[in-house]
């Protein structure tokens, strides 16, 4: 039963990413060229509403449907790893025009070369895991 819920959430997310054009390489390029408000509108409205709802969940101590507290664990304090990791991610996001959600949307939509990006991203993740102890965090 829970698996079906996860599947439905994923299908819905995939449809939203495709229909919003957030999965389009062109929209990412246009965003970094400051050519349109579209992507800023998506991220901005998602975050604004997200801040309101997460603060409400915290303020009223709202429990999950299974009765457990809703926790978003705080990320460890650091500047280097978020900044360096973020910059590398941003370089790839702009080049491939896809982040880890849209990659899978595009695979489903039938753009076969995205498979190369997905396999490389998995390998990139592996490289991070292998080099982790040698990197500044």
């Amino acid at each position: 039963m829970r698996s079906i819920i996860y599947l439905v959430i994923g299908i819905f997310f995939g449809i939203v990413l495709f229909k919003s054009e957030a999965a389009s390489w062109f929209r990412i390029y246009e965003m970094f060229k400051f050519g349109s408000f579209h992507m800023y509108g998506i991220i901005g409205s998602a975050v604004t509403l997200g801040i309101i709802l997460v603060q409400l969940i915290k303020k009223y101590n709202i429990k999950s449907v299974y009765g457990e507290p809703v926790v978003i664990p705080p990320k460890a304090r650091s500047i280097k790893r978020y900044l360096f990791g973020g910059i590398l991610f941003g370089l790839g996001w702009a080049l491939a025009g896809a982040c880890p959600g849209p990659m899978f949307v595009l695979l489903g939509a039938g753009y076969l070369p995205i498979f190369i990006v997905i396999v490389s991203a998995i390998f990139g993740t592996f490289l991070y895991g292998a080099l982790k102890d040698k990197l500044p965090h």
Binding site: K19, F32, I87, F104
Partner: protein, 185 residues
């Protein structure tokens, strides 16, 4: 119901993404797509090579099911919920892209130069797709999250690390488009 078949505006799409994040929170999960790349590494046996991949991947099975859903969602949206998938870009951006050789700008969802089947046999396109993927995978794990985990989920929780990561995403993206693209296209 015709609006379903048109591109969805930002003020519909953004709140729907929030709805997905909050739904996951309410069923005791957290929104984060790049974690799946780590899980896939472990399933492929990376735990034998590095401790970073030694974790109980079965606890992440739910997230892999979300990914399968995302793939199906992309298929449904492209095949059954769209009449015309060409992206209505800013005309200046179209002119700029066409001058760089992206002829399908303004008439397609993805650039032919990188995402048509012909790209699979073009050494330049393949190289760029591989480098892009490597950077996304490496950078997401180094930063501890991607657009979903940091930009949406982390910023919604007002976490400073997520703000630093998102600033990093934009520095990287701006450098790629404004300084590196002129060298490669």
């Amino acid at each position: 119901m015709n609006w379903i078949y048109d591109p969805w505006p930002w003020y519909i799409s953004g709140p729907l993404i929030t709805l997905i994040m909050v739904t996951l929170l309410m069923i005791g999960k957290r929104f984060g797509m790049s974690s799946n790349l780590r899980t896939l590494c472990t399933i492929c046996g990376a735990d034998k090579a590095a401790d970073f991949f030694k974790f109980d991947w079965k606890a992440q099975r739910w997230n892999l099911i979300v990914v399968i859903g995302v793939i199906i969602g992309g298929f449904i949206a492209n095949n059954f919920l769209s009449n015309d998938t060409s992206v209505d870009l800013n005309p200046k951006v179209i002119t700029d892209l066409q001058a760089k050789g992206f002829e399908s700008a303004g008439t397609a969802y993805m650039p032919d130069m990188l995402f048509s089947n012909g790209a699979l046999t073009d050494p330049k396109a393949l190289t760029l797709l591989i480098i892009g993927g490597l950077l996304v995978g490496f950078g997401a794990r180094y930063a501890g999250g991607c657009t979903s985990g940091h930009a949406i989920s982390g910023l919604s929780d007002l976490q400073i690390p997520s703000l630093i990561a998102v600033i990093g995403f934009f520095i990287g993206g701006l450098v790629m488009i404004h300084f590196i693209f002129p060298l490669i296209f």
